[in-house]
Point group: C2
Chain length 589, copies 2
């Protein structure tokens, strides 16, 4: 709150000039669900008056809002800045025009690279932005013992981070097996959360019944991993804040229809999680989810509550999420409620964007040299990609991690199926000591944090058809992952990414088809969102040419090393059988 309580009172009574007056909007009241004409009086960062008695109320600035619907600024409670590949300041620039005025981000990507210092760098880069950008303290860094991350977060680190201004709650508790087993470190972390009454974000994709109850009993109070209606309703009923992501990963119509049977579900929320830069530029951010649910026929009041009042309640920030006196002056004017077309955006009492255009200048990122020196690998040579099969001629069996084409029509089920790999045995030809690649692609993961210089390889199916793709956006440890059908292209792609200190590179026949430089922690660019979006567009075009398995939500190679997603992954330590929690060798016996 910037100012004395008595100043706000004075402004409401007309004894002080308002700093901003939004006149004659159609106010969608999130408390009552009514819509009626009202003017919104603002003094500095707070709303002080909502009504139509403007007699004697002067304002420094007045905006005519007639014909527009006023709703509170949108609140995002589960997301990762790094996934949009830009720095926090550039991210703020990108999402404010979409009506997002508050966001809670889990910085576990940078934490896997830089640890506590990475989180601190993000927090410090987010102070004083017009976007209120808070962070969770990540709880699962690394995500498992099957990877070598750049850093680990200890329980002491977590306790320390929770004391920082701008850190608010515990980030998604991804390691649900540890929760259910009662793992010691996990128990200590949850105990910190329980004692401090912190918000604890969850992650419980496959849990149901008793296991889901047990998980919620641990204190994890929210979950964004919702693909099917049935488990989503189960979570709603058990009091979890259910966070629905956009239409990339679920069938909005199916969800809207099912939820229509539950009028005013108290704990329904929308979120974005990971938004690729090109999607953010083209389709939007949290507003995109709102549009999708509007189109799917959800009650507009429920749509708006799901991104305003309820997220504020979930995050225990009662001064956010509503257009009412005493609340933070975050207001969005919609040209059309049902189309959810964002016009003016006011954040902290200041008009920050109009019709998609930013109205304020946002400072440069403060992420400095320490965040720009996280690539510890020297250039790769061809020999680094050499694989010696057990025979030099003939056929052998290799263990492959298979991505599966989905037969399902439902978006959510299809997405879930797409990311859930299978471990299988595949016959490959060996000629002159070399494995014939093509149907089967080769994967190398190089530990790139200067920890042990380790590397491992494995084989995948249905992930790439030609050429090679290399990336440090390799969740969650973010080592250098290279997948390809020939070692030459693999080396070239790897070296591009090493040269740019992180990023993504697509190479075919030694030709660079696309290259995104992400020098900040190997995850984020220095460019604007628009610029990175253009690069991502080119990258997707390259994917199409090379037959790389892509998904609007995220290109699949970026998830290949994520050792907590069933059923098999390839990390810097080898091929990991997630279900049985053990490594398997590349060559089948």
């Amino acid at each position: 709150m910037s100012g004395q309580v008595s100043d706000f009172v004075s402004a409401a009574l007309g004894r002080k000039k308002l700093t901003l007056l939004i006149k004659d909007a159609a106010l969608l009241n999130v408390f009552t669900g009514e819509t009626y004409s009202a003017s919104i009086g603002i003094y500095r960062d707070r709303i002080v008056y909502v009504g139509q008695d403007l007699d004697g109320l002067d304002s420094i600035k007045t905006i005519n809002a007639s014909g527009k619907t006023a709703i509170p600024g949108l609140i995002e409670t589960h997301m990762h800045v790094e996934s949009s590949m830009v720095s926090p300041s550039r991210f703020a620039e990108a999402v404010l025009p979409h009506g997002v005025t508050t966001a809670f981000a889990d910085p576990h990507e940078i934490a896997n690279v830089m640890g506590k210092e990475g989180v601190k760098a993000m927090v410090e880069d987010s102070v004083d932005l017009p976007l209120k950008l808070y962070y969770y303290a990540p709880t699962c860094v690394p995500e498992s013992k099957a990877v070598t991350p750049g850093a680990e977060l200890t329980t002491d680190d977590i306790r320390e981070m929770l004391g920082w201004e701008g850190v608010w709650g515990l980030g998604e508790v991804m390691d649900y097996p540890a929760v259910l087993k009662g793992g010691e470190k996990m128990n200590r972390i949850l105990q910190i959360g329980a004692k401090g009454d912190y918000v604890i974000d969850g992650h419980a994709p496959l849990l149901t019944g008793r296991e889901l109850n047990a998980y919620i009993s641990s204190g994890a109070e929210a979950d964004h991993e919702n693909f099917t209606v049935a488990t989503t309703l189960e979570k709603l009923r058990l009091g979890m804040y259910v966070k629905l992501r956009g239409p990339y990963v679920l069938d909005a119509k199916k969800f809207a229809d099912a939820l229509a049977g539950i009028p005013h579900p108290y704990n329904l929320i929308f979120c974005t999680d990971d938004v690729m830069p090109d999607n953010l530029a083209r389709l939007g951010h949290l507003d995109y989810a709102c549009r999708a649910f509007m189109q799917a026929g959800m009650d507009p009041v429920e749509v708006v509550r799901s991104v305003t009042l309820r997220p504020a309640a979930h995050m225990r920030m009662p001064h956010l999420g509503a257009i009412a006196p005493g609340r933070v002056a975050d207001v969005v004017l919609l040209d059309d409620l049902k189309k959810f077309s964002i016009g003016l955006v006011v954040a902290n009492g200041v008009p920050v964007a109009r019709d998609g255009e930013l109205l304020v200048k946002i400072r440069k990122t403060r992420l400095d040299s320490s965040a720009r020196d996280t690539m510890k690998l020297s250039p790769r040579r061809l020999g680094d990609f050499e694989v010696t099969p057990p025979v030099s001629e003939g056929s052998i069996y290799v263990n492959t991690v298979d991505f599966g084409g989905s037969e399902r029509k439902d978006v959510g089920e299809a997405f879930a199926e797409m990311i859930l790999t299978r471990l299988s045995r595949t016959k490959v030809r060996v000629t002159d000591g070399r494995i014939k690649l093509g149907d089967v692609a080769l994967v190398f993961v190089f530990e790139r944090h200067g920890k042990n210089g380790g590397r491992a390889f494995g084989f995948v199916r249905n992930l790439i058809r030609e050429g090679a793709f290399a990336t440090t956006v390799a969740h969650d440890a973010h080592n250098l992952l290279v997948v390809g059908t020939n070692t030459g292209d693999m080396m070239t792609a790897a070296n591009l990414v090493i040269k740019s200190k992180g990023g993504l590179a697509a190479v075919r026949n030694r030709k660079t088809l696309a290259w995104i430089k992400l020098p900040i922690a190997g995850l984020m660019s220095d460019l604007s969102l628009e610029e990175v979006a253009e690069e991502m567009k080119s990258m997707r075009a390259a994917f199409r040419e090379m037959g790389v398995l892509d998904h609007p939500y995220m290109p699949l190679p970026c998830l290949l090393a994520l050792s907590v997603i069933p059923h098999a992954r390839i990390t810097d330590k080898g091929i990991f059988d997630v279900d049985n929690q053990r490594f398997v060798p590349p060559f089948a016996s």
Copy 2:
């Protein structure tokens, strides 16, 4: 939370025995509004499982709940323990059988008598009760400068109290004129609230429009002073937590009908405020309000949400207010939802009451000698009640504080009209230097805290017909107030109350009709609620005989000295014109 997170997880999974299992209830789900059959697994003070898969789940104790509706324990967010005239431990004993498992009390009555030490005594008497009894830090002690209280609370006191365990938020900000004026002390108090993100309870009986907006802008987020539908809807729309008190002070049917037009009002709550002991014993506590709104046709889900989930959200206690894993195990079984008939009550995982009978033994009060020595007056003599009119024979005009009979049919309007007095001039006869009392009664208020030994007198109409009534329950300063139609009875009544170190006494023709001894701070008895209720019944009978203006909510003489209620009051300093904030002499010029 009593126990390790991992224990709760283990209990949910059947690896540890549940401590209590409530089997086969009809669960009213406050999140979704659905009702379905479910069993509730509890480990120590937490719910760990809600569902019907009991395979392999053992429990130390099992309760069959088939045929009963399970709802969360009721949460009371605006009330004063002192008004029920018993100590906190006896209060807990009284309300648990009514399903109230959590209460937030504003201890401003005792604070007016004993200051910070009084609050501390209440807090310490409430620790470890089976009722979770929290306190607000009172913000308006004294309520104005027109009274002499036993103690004042400074801003430093308030800051200190907020640091005590068991103190949670700022109590009702009654001095709304100071808020609107921007009074310095009030501004400092509200600033403490804003900085610390504390819950700030409000009190805004007559505010509307810009003034109401200004009041809410100050941070006061709730109001229980709701008599009419129109202002209540205005407050709901402006995002206040609107707390509806029971049917004593509002027309439940009118409210239910109006609110039916606003399905699922996000911020609707019920509360009790002041519950006289006889009403608590006869009609109930927060459950009485629930019954009334049920009868008035309100949607049962809305009724239940108004006393569970929403109060928990308002108080920022997300672990309360729902039957769901991870939540505090406060469960009420209703024999009949619509009748809201309370059967079993479980608090913190322990069955504490069944069918109105307490199942646990609650310890004695800890309120010790310091709280039992607050009556600083010596016995009164007849001369203390002597009044010398300006003439010794003939007619004179006196300024009278008039209570008005109400023509209104609406309960809320009638109550508001009843407590709002008028200041008027009344002709009285003087014979032999004595004023003829009868139509006009005499009032004396004696400062009884040992501050200045002051006293004042004035005249009232329509408050008493015969005899005299004396009380230290004289809001908020709780001085000794005596009202009567003859000085002999007044002296006798006063001396009874002085003798019992506080209380209420009704005397006619020197005969004691009723006497309630309240030795604890002059406000609370040592007896059980049932016993004080019996005494209160006798007191009301005496009121009827003597023609004392009574109301189920509170006998009107107890409000005569409350210097913030319009339009005129009589305090230890004199007759106070509330509207013009000045004293007027008893004899009109």
